[in-house]
């Protein structure tokens, strides 16, 4: 069964149609790169797949859960890295990660491992998120996704805000996740970077999928 299958999905942001009719099927283990101009609907598509956004019409399922009626179940099984960090400013890095671990029914012992993986130095583990730099926050947010070990990773511009080392780290994470059998969808402007990673390039514009092919095509341009 496909990890994601959407048919004719229309999603609204207020009254504006963010997605105007999306048909999409993603199989397990794929690494899909979503690219397109600003305002094309990349983030909206990711949010629908994460079960965050309700759809206006159309139907679909993610990880076997209906995208209309079983959104909480979808949310529990995916890991979304959005534009927001989903971190509580007044809590420390460790406290935030522990909260996520508890919510995902993951043992708290995994927290230090995840933080190390993301290169979050231990000296800031007990610092409130409020005091961290943007890059450190991004890494912490990524750690929160990593610690959940989701079957479906949804990453919205994961390279943004990170230094060169951080960007390489993201690539490594995606590779590891993919080899472990998870499915990854990432929205990014960085076509060159992901050509080795992605098995598939999805072009999005005007709230619809306008191109769907292997990475060679875009790389050749």
């Amino acid at each position: 069964m496909a990890i994601i299958s959407l048919t004719g999905v229309v999603a609204l942001l207020g009254r504006f149609p963010g997605l105007a009719g999306v048909d999409l099927t993603v199989e397990a283990g794929e690494v899909v790169l979503i690219h397109g101009p600003n305002g094309a609907g990349k983030s909206t598509l990711l949010r629908v797949c994460a079960g965050l956004l309700r759809i206006e019409s159309g139907h679909g399922q993610v990880l076997g859960h209906d995208v209309r009626s079983e959104r909480p179940a979808i949310r529990r099984s995916v890991g979304l890295l959005g534009h927001d960090t989903a971190l509580y400013e007044d809590l420390t890095v460790t406290e935030n990660l522990r909260f996520w671990a508890r919510a995902s029914r993951v043992e708290e012992a995994q927290v230090p491992t995840a933080l190390d993986r993301l290169g979050v130095p231990s000296r800031i583990h007990d610092v409130a998120v409020r005091h961290l730099s943007a890059g450190q926050r991004r890494r912490t947010a990524l750690a929160a996704v990593v610690v959940r070990r989701p079957r479906l990773w949804l990453l919205d511009e994961p390279h943004a805000g990170l230094d060169a080392g951080g960007r390489d780290l993201v690539d490594a994470l995606v590779k590891d996740a993919s080899s472990a059998g998870a499915t990854v969808m990432l929205a990014s402007h960085e076509l060159d970077r992901t050509v080795d990673l992605a098995t598939r390039h999805l072009a999005v514009a005007g709230g619809m999928v306008v191109g769907d092919h292997g990475p060679e095509v875009d790389h050749a341009r």
Partner: protein
């Protein structure tokens, strides 16, 4: 489920403790309100005594507004938006957890207020049992309704103004009942305080029930 509730309540209380807003702003505010009323009515002792229960619960209403605003703003601040949703915690657990955290803060303030009333207004407590139980039960009802309304106004512009407009009429029956129960507990009026407490329990159950059911629907709307 219980673990989730504890996680949410614990998180809220920890954030509250970390930012010290309750201790450094809300409690002084409540004490200030008490003192101001005392100034206004002090020349007229009998009136002050008669009015004490009402003043107490009105102060609680003001504090509830503050507490609920803060509870909601935790989830809507820039970083944490939708964190609870993403974490996949059951909406009922979120509701109960957040309401519990608000209730704890309110009870802390009420303890200070009781002290304030004893000291500044010279109140005498006839029935401590009734007093304490009224505080607990009324606080639960207030926290439940407040948390629900807090989530309701979270997506509305000008939410700081809309919240009090909704809080007052929704909480009015609870506050009136609590005031009546306090009348009895403070021995100022001969009413059946325990009957009012029963009514309070009814409100508590109903508001909590509706909150638990409707909270999920609210969260899913976004």
């Amino acid at each position: 489920m219980l673990a989730d509730i504890a996680a949410v309540a614990g998180k809220d209380l920890r954030i509250e403790w970390r930012s010290r807003v309750t201790a450094s702003q809300v409690i002084p505010f409540a004490a200030l309100v008490l003192v101001l009323f005392g100034f206004a009515l002090d020349a007229n002792r009998p009136v002050l005594e008669r009015a004490t229960p009402g003043l107490f619960w009105m102060t609680v209403l003001f504090v509830t507004n503050l507490a609920v605003q803060r509870s909601t703003s935790i989830e809507t601040s820039d970083g944490a938006r939708r964190a609870l949703l993403l974490a996949g915690i059951e909406p009922v657990a979120v509701f109960v957890g957040k309401a519990l955290a608000v209730a704890v803060e309110l009870l802390a303030v009420e303890i200070v207020l009781v002290g304030g009333v004893l000291v500044f207004y010279g109140a005498e407590i006839d029935d401590w049992g009734l007093l304490v139980l009224t505080c607990v039960v009324a606080t639960m009802a207030v926290a439940a309704a407040g948390t629900l309304l807090g989530a309701l106004v979270a997506g509305i512009r000008a939410r700081e103004t809309v919240l009090p407009i909704l809080l007052l009429p929704v909480l009015a029956p609870v506050l009136i009942s609590a005031t009546r129960a306090f009348d009895d507990a403070l021995g100022s009026v001969a009413v059946q305080g325990w009957a009012w407490l029963g009514l309070l329990a009814g409100f508590g159950v109903l508001n909590s029930g509706l909150g638990a059911l409707a909270y999920g629907v609210l969260l899913e709307e976004t």
